[in-house]
């Protein structure tokens, strides 16, 4: 018996060593890199006037009915993302809310929609490839024809973006897909297209990041004419005095970065955006998983070891006296 136990331990050790030492996949997986032609949005809260034109345009572009008939309300009344809205504008208010983009006694606007992570949790967790990240543009898309409705993406998204329908017999996941269907027609995402001030700007992520850095470097009060629509399009919104920014580009480093970047005049936590580490959660999870299951070598070795020990023990107990220890 001591021999068989030793054999088992040997097999288990060999398995563990093989798993750790196996080349390639088994090595600790770092954050994924920004895709070569990454597309995204720059949302500058200080330019947002809360008109919600982006909410309405998003619904039109994605064939989602309005929450309230347009005749009864001046603007759409959706207050959260979900099947009824892929993008909403939320307001932060404090005290008498007298000054825009100020934390104390001020107010500010926040945009809630998919961040299009560089290393998305939703793609890592999805068992059936219903969440996919485009290799070139990095757009995180959802393919409901694949989806089994396990809602692991809903539960694991660090920004709480994918949503599900709990009142439908045949429900589906909903999330912003950066209007990838409009891109085929040569159009840009509806939220950026419709934004009158340039608060939501669409374009290649490197251009957006440069623009964000430029704005952070401005002296507050400087008159600045922001681009609107698409970065590099040459179309501009009305000039405005630059606000006092929080010196941080949200999405630059958060969990390995996102393709949607945010600028704000009030701390990001106040806009419902969590403080996050640089290492992506997906890389932590996949490192564990790939260490244990690299090439299924470890499980195969353990299985072989188990078969050996069990058949040996079975033979012993059938032919010899049973071990009663």
């Amino acid at each position: 018996m001591s021999i068989s136990r030793r054999n088992f331990l040997k097999a288990a050790t060999v398995g563990a060593v093989a798993a750790v030492a196996a080349p390639g996949d088994a090595a600790a997986r770092g954050n994924l890199a920004m895709p070569p032609q990454a597309l995204g949005l720059l949302f500058d809260s200080t330019y947002c006037v809360g008109c919600k034109a982006c909410v309405t345009a998003c619904k039109q572009a994605n064939a989602i009915p309005f929450a309230t008939p347009v005749r009864e309300a001046h603007r759409d009344t959706s207050i959260d993302i979900g099947a009824g809205a892929l993008n909403v504008i939320k307001a932060y208010r404090h005290g008498d809310a007298s000054v825009k983009d100020r934390e104390i006694n001020g107010f500010a606007f926040a945009k809630k929609s998919c961040m299009h992570c560089v290393d998305p949790s939703c793609v890592s967790v999805c068992p059936v490839s219903a969440m996919q990240k485009a290799p070139l543009t990095g757009i995180v898309s959802h393919h409901k024809e694949n989806c089994i409705g396990c809602r692991y993406c809903v539960a694991s998204c660090p920004y709480g973006v994918p949503r599900f329908e709990y009142d439908q017999a045949f429900p589906a996941i909903s999330k912003c897909q950066l209007c990838r269907h409009l891109r085929d027609e040569g159009r840009i995402p509806a939220c950026a297209e419709s934004c009158p001030t340039g608060a939501t700007l669409y374009g290649p992520v490197d251009l957006l990041k440069r623009e964000a850095e430029r704005r952070l470097a401005m002296t507050p009060g400087t008159l600045y004419k922001p681009e609107r629509g698409q970065a590099g399009s040459g179309e501009f919104g009305r000039p405005r005095a630059a606000s006092t920014y929080v010196q941080h580009i949200y999405g630059d480093k958060e969990l390995g970065g996102t393709q949607v970047l945010h600028l704000s005049g009030v701390p990001f936590e106040k806009l419902g955006m969590p403080t996050l580490p640089d290492r992506s959660y997906a890389s932590v999870s996949e490192t564990i998983q790939h260490t244990i299951y690299a090439g299924m070598a470890a499980p195969a070795l353990v299985l072989a070891g188990l078969v050996g020990i069990i058949s040996r023990n079975k033979k012993k107990s059938e032919h010899g006296p049973e071990d009663r220890s």
Partner: protein, 388 residues
């Protein structure tokens, strides 16, 4: 003395089995509602708490309760402790029911169940997904359990030829029956690593797979004690404390190892101040630790180990502790990325879970009465028990 398993016989329709059947039927009614009208017709799920007790209890805790077959096979066939052999078959039946109904619960909880087959289809399957590993592994294990348990059915119907053929391959299935739960019980912990800051730091750690696996193994031993105690009491058979007591040593060792791992991990991560400094969550943490430590204190005195009551209490404490640990990781210490959501299971949601548990008990009773599952008992020993 012949301990070969045999059907214990007796009537199948009793007030208790009828009560279980009614509970199961009520659960079934609400499952039907869920399929016709959507989740919220029966459950309180929302986008903050998209997983409720149907995952946290029915699947995660339910399969940990189903680890009896796994750990008894490990003990008997790998560590060659032949004296526990009579406990293997009842443990396998309980595992088969626990896992089988866990798999049923998964289907009830899948919003788009009609696409379920995508998990086993190469074009869809996504190997980085921990959920894929859990799903495929649990599905395979349910089939393995069917094969492991099949000799009992084949014996009952006198299919000795077929039984011999199955038993030729049994070594492979026993080995799979040990490998697969090791894989998915740890993966159930890995599954929560990617939740990152959404899980309170007292619970979030990359050691979740190890802590889940270790506690699942102990829960396996404890469920064997629990079931054997209930079976002796419920079917009025002689107690098996003399055999079950032998499991005390391994339970104590596993509990101490788990507690040491848990605190070493917190210490190395510099989180010791959270133990008492997390407000009401500290209460949940300490309750977990107390329930994990209780079996050690109950079973340390040698006299307690062969005595049915302390043994049963120790098992119950650990089963509660392991369950609370899982509920904490999946629900209590889970704070959704979007604040403002709250969750408490609705009455129909709880009735579905109760219905599943009732069905499990019912199936166990019916199968133990009709199939050779429980070890045979000499009539002389039965006579010593109070008459029915």
């Amino acid at each position: 003395m012949n301990h070969a398993p045999r059907p214990i016989g007796g009537g199948l329709i009793t007030p208790f089995t009828l009560f279980l059947a009614v509970l199961a039927a009520i659960g079934g009614y609400f499952v039907l509602q869920r399929f016709i009208y959507g989740f919220n017709a029966a459950a309180a799920f929302n986008d903050g708490y998209t997983w409720g007790i149907w995952i946290a209890y029915d699947v995660v805790i339910g399969t940990a309760f189903g680890c009896g077959g796994y750990v008894m096979a490990l003990l008997v066939y790998v560590f060659n402790k032949g004296k526990y052999h009579p406990l293997v078959r009842p443990a396998l039946l309980a595992s088969l029911l626990g896992y089988g109904l866990g798999a049923v619960s998964v289907v009830v909880d899948l919003g788009r169940y009609w696409n379920m087959w995508h998990m086993m289809w190469p074009g869809y399957a996504q190997p980085n997904s921990v959920m894929l590993e859990v799903g495929l592994c649990v599905a395979t294990y349910v089939m393995v359990l069917f094969v492991e348990f099949s000799p009992a059915v084949l014996e009952r119907f006198g299919l000795t030829n077929l039984k011999r053929k199955v038993e030729k391959w049994m070594v492979l299935f026993i080995a799979l029956g040990i490998l697969l739960p090791t894989m998915h019980q740890s993966s159930l912990g890995t599954m929560m690593v990617i939740f990152g800051h959404q899980i309170h730091p007292l619970w979030q750690t990359t050691l979740l797979p190890l802590l889940f696996l270790m506690s699942a193994i102990t829960m396996g031993f404890c469920i064997v004690i629990f079931e054997a105690s209930l079976a002796s009491a419920g079917f009025r058979r002689p107690g098996e404390a003399h055999i079950l007591g032998g499991l005390s040593g391994v339970i104590i060792a596993l509990q101490l190892a788990w507690l040491a791992t848990r605190f070493a991990d917190l210490h190395l991560a510099g989180k010791m101040d959270l133990v008492l400094g997390s407000g009401w969550l500290s209460g949940f943490f300490l309750a977990e630790i107390a329930l994990f430590a209780l079996p050690v204190f109950l079973l340390l005195p040698k006299a307690n180990r062969t005595s049915p009551r302390p043994l049963f209490l120790a098992a119950v404490a650990m089963l509660l502790g392991g369950s609370l640990y899982r509920i904490d990781v999946f629900l209590v210490a889970y704070f959704p990325a979007t604040p403002g959501f709250s969750y408490f299971p609705s009455v129909p949601e709880i009735l579905v879970t109760l219905g599943i548990v009732a069905f499990e008990f019912l199936a166990y009773i019916v199968l133990a009465r009709t199939l050779p599952v429980l070890p045979g008992v000499e009539p002389a020993m039965m006579a010593a028990q109070p008459a029915e």
